[in-house]
């Protein structure tokens, strides 16, 4: 069951085509955690996890640093009466939903989110969503998806949510002009920047998924083009492609190079003339290069090790390698979508070490043996590694900070500079 521990130097063949796969403890969040940004992004949606006390505790612990006075998520905690069959789970859920809607009459979309316990007891949330729709529709719409840890890792929760959402997109009219859907939650400010660039290019109509309002859904069909702003949207892309949309392959919009290639994929699909593309993107490209260049002296030649977290790891590694001259020791990623990431790996060295999934203890062994200059990892590992003298960057910050696009390229580089700059400043030793 366990692959032999791959020690440094002996596993050069663990590239993107054949990543190292070890089974063991995964030190990652489950898909429920995506709700932490989804509930802010979509302002009339509410996410109701149907799960256990652990789910509720996870949500508040993971979101602990940013407790909102009134979050747009909650947990319907299953108790022993539900499990013993003394209470009809569906009736119980009816009560919870009714209570919730009376408390929050502003909700337009209620999303039932499956968890590990609800999956294991085979609670039919599709049926539940349908029932609730009959009870509270059409004023409130209902969706369901699974964010359970037995099926999803962290950002895959957003993938499943968007896949459920796009099932409901209206079909495009027969004579529809080509349109563009940009998928993957982005910070509002980043979305606005991209919108301006696309409008300047004269490309569109464009729409972003998830939308800020649950009622602003684009139509989809054979004239729809799909551009992924995030690398973790395999299920959603499949669903849209099934409905006729054509996926535009590109690297992801991180750094100057990634952003340009990403915009170019859309521009080419819409037949934008290269001169125009260069003119529109020129100033942004120059600014991004200028801003990133400032971080290069600190980061050049630094050896970086990624623990798996959000699936952003290959794109981050590409940015650090290409634009800042970092050496990539290992790209750990929870799931490797080879097709969607092909553009990233083309820009990385052929022999870059890739691992998919995790056995955290063995990965820590590799990490310590490699002595990287910087480890990108989650919050469960960061302080212990710092205490061992290894510099770390919390990967969660890469998900919760606006990092995409030209105007954020410098900020992204700076996030990786900060651990070094901090060590430079501090004269106290722990």
């Amino acid at each position: 069951m366990n692959a032999p521990a791959n020690l440094p130097g002996t596993a050069a063949d663990c590239g993107p085509a054949q990543p190292l796969r070890q089974r063991g403890q995964h030190e990652v969040f489950c898909g429920l955690t995506s709700i932490i940004w989804l509930h802010r992004k979509m302002q009339d949606a509410f996410f109701l996890v149907v799960g256990s006390r652990t789910c509720a505790h996870l949500m508040q612990s993971a979101a602990g640093v940013m407790i909102f006075a009134e979050p747009r998520f909650a947990t319907a905690v299953i108790d022993e009466r539900d499990l013993a069959g003394m209470a009809d789970v569906h009736e119980e859920l009816d009560k919870v939903v009714a209570k919730l809607l009376s408390r929050r009459p502003d909700i337009r979309l209620l999303v039932l989110v499956g968890s590990c316990p609800s999956e294991v007891i085979k609670l039919d949330l599709a049926k539940a969503a349908e029932r609730q729709g009959a009870l509270h529709g059409p004023a409130v719409r209902f969706l369901h998806y699974s964010g359970s840890g037995i099926e999803t890792t962290f950002t895959q929760g957003e993938d499943n949510f968007l896949a459920a959402l796009v099932e409901n997109l209206p079909a495009e009219p027969a004579d529809a002009k080509p349109s563009l859907i940009i998928a993957g939650a982005l910070a509002d400010v980043v979305e606005d920047q991209f919108r301006r660039i696309f409008e300047a290019l004269g490309l569109g109509p464009i729409s972003f998924l998830p939308p800020r309002s649950s009622t602003a859904l684009p139509h989809v069909g054979p004239n729809t083009r799909l551009l992924l702003a995030q690398p973790f949207l395999g299920e959603m892309a499949k669903t849209l492609e099934r409905r006729g949309a054509r996926h535009l392959m590109a690297p992801f919009p991180l750094g100057e190079e990634g952003t340009t290639a990403w915009l170019k994929a859309a521009a080419d699909a819409f037949g934008i003339e290269p001169g125009r593309f260069a003119a529109i993107t020129g100033p942004g490209r120059a600014r991004a290069k200028l801003a990133v260049e400032k971080s290069r002296p600190t980061l050049e030649g630094k050896r970086i090790f990624f623990f798996p977290d959000s699936q952003l790891e290959p794109a981050m590694a590409r940015f650090l390698h290409r634009e800042l001259g970092c050496d990539i020791v290992e790209i750990g990623t929870p799931f490797l979508h080879r097709h969607h990431l092909a553009g990233e790996f083309e820009l990385l060295p052929d022999n870059v070490f890739v691992s998919e999934g995790q056995d955290v203890d063995r990965q820590l062994d590799r990490c310590r043996a490699q002595k990287p200059d910087l480890v990108v990892c989650g919050m469960g590992l960061a302080n212990p590694l710092e205490a061992e003298g290894i510099a770390t960057k919390w990967s969660i910050e890469l998900v919760f900070t606006p990092v995409q696009g030209y105007e954020q390229a410098g900020d992204l580089a700076e996030l990786f500079v900060r651990p070094f700059a901090r060590r430079e400043r501090l004269k106290v030793s722990a």
Partner: protein, 519 residues
Amino acid sequence: MQLTVWTYEGPPHVGAMRIAASMRGVHFVLHAPQGDTYADLLFTMIERRSTRPPVTYTTFQARDLGSDTAEIFKTACREAVERFRPDAVLVGASCTAELIQDNPGGLAAALNLDIPVVNLELPSYQKKENWGAAETFYRLVRAFAPAPVGVAAARTPGRVCNILGPASLGFRHRDDIVEVRKLVESLGVTINVVAPLGASVADLARLPEADFNIVLYPEIGGVTADWLKRNHGQPFVAIQPIGALATEAFVEAVAKAAGIKAQDIPETRSRLPWYSRSVDSTYLTGKRVFIFGDATHAVAAAHIAAKELGFTVCGLGTYSREFAREVRAAAAEYGVEPLISDDHLAVEDAIISAQPELVLGTQMERHVAKRLRIPCAVISSPVHVQDFPARYSPQMGVEGANVIFDSWVHPLMMGLEEHLLHMFRDDFEFNDTAQPSHLSQGAPAAASAQEEHAAAAGSPLIEVPATLQWADEAERELKKIPFFVRGKARRNTERFASENGLRTITLETLYDAKAHFSR
């Protein structure tokens, strides 16, 4: 099924983790799906622990459910024991694993490990975190300090004690244990073992050597103290030294259990009694205070509020159902209706209807109080990173009483300030929605719209030509920048524009400046 936004306690396996993480040489193998590892960050982030908690998760996935999750557990358990070489291993299941009924105890026994295995039954759909911690501690003590055959002999008072209950992620347990140790040792009493915090399984085996036990935190140590009394004949002191009066009572009780005569008890005095009697504290008289937390801290807070600070208790409650009786008794003493609930929405409603002037609660009540603009101090877990302050900040003993006086009184308006507020209600800078002046530094979260405006306006560091204009689009974009850095962004952009001889600040200028000034 219960609608829950925030919870006061985690599931019981998190309680078990807290015991494992408190002790030395104990490893916990938890049958759990991926994602349950979030609990590690309670220790590494909230408590800023420098090592990973000693827990191995099996991380089973949906595709394993049909096949062999039991084999996954056995592999994880065997490998964890080989890798970490603990003195003892705890095994248990989280909520999802409980449903698949793999029986971790039986599986671990089948491995024939060369170290003791303690099996935990943690009913996730009935019980919660504190119960899980108390149960785990009790199971460990039973395993390593087994009951002697026959009836336990009655003990005579002696000068050796154990301290039971302090644990990882406990509210100020880290500092309380230092303070209580000082207090107990000042009486000439020797501390045999403190557990679970810092104890090894060998220490647990030595527990029966003490003459009596001190229960520092009944939510975790109570069950074990009862068992030790029944089976090893050890009496226990059940008073927690929180507040000046309780500290005196605690010292008396410890002295009695140790057979120390009253005249031999050294005097212990905090500053709280005099600070409370000094005229400056007059304004505290009769302030209505709402109290909610775990049972130990809530009951203690009510006593201190009423008897040591002269407040009026207008609400008292707990989320610790196991200790509802104690909280009901205290509520009866102050003539309020007890609130026994783990539904924070019910607590919020109770706070609103009680109309308190001060809330003493958990981090959740802090949020409610913030929303209602009522001063608040945190007195109980669930813990937050702020509950692990860098400074020494106990709640128990002499210094604990001093800390409590400061931390409960400081959120309130100073006496004269409050009077002036009533006199000059309409002053635009000085009204009842303004923060107390001495709190402006300490209350960043309550930044008002005015402050935001002031921060955004900033003060020009360089001469900005009057002709410099902001394009509407750029102005709107500027507003998207968080307000606390907006002033700086505005100044930098204007400086950049004037240095470059621009007359209108466009979006391009804004981002050109951002790139120019980026570090």
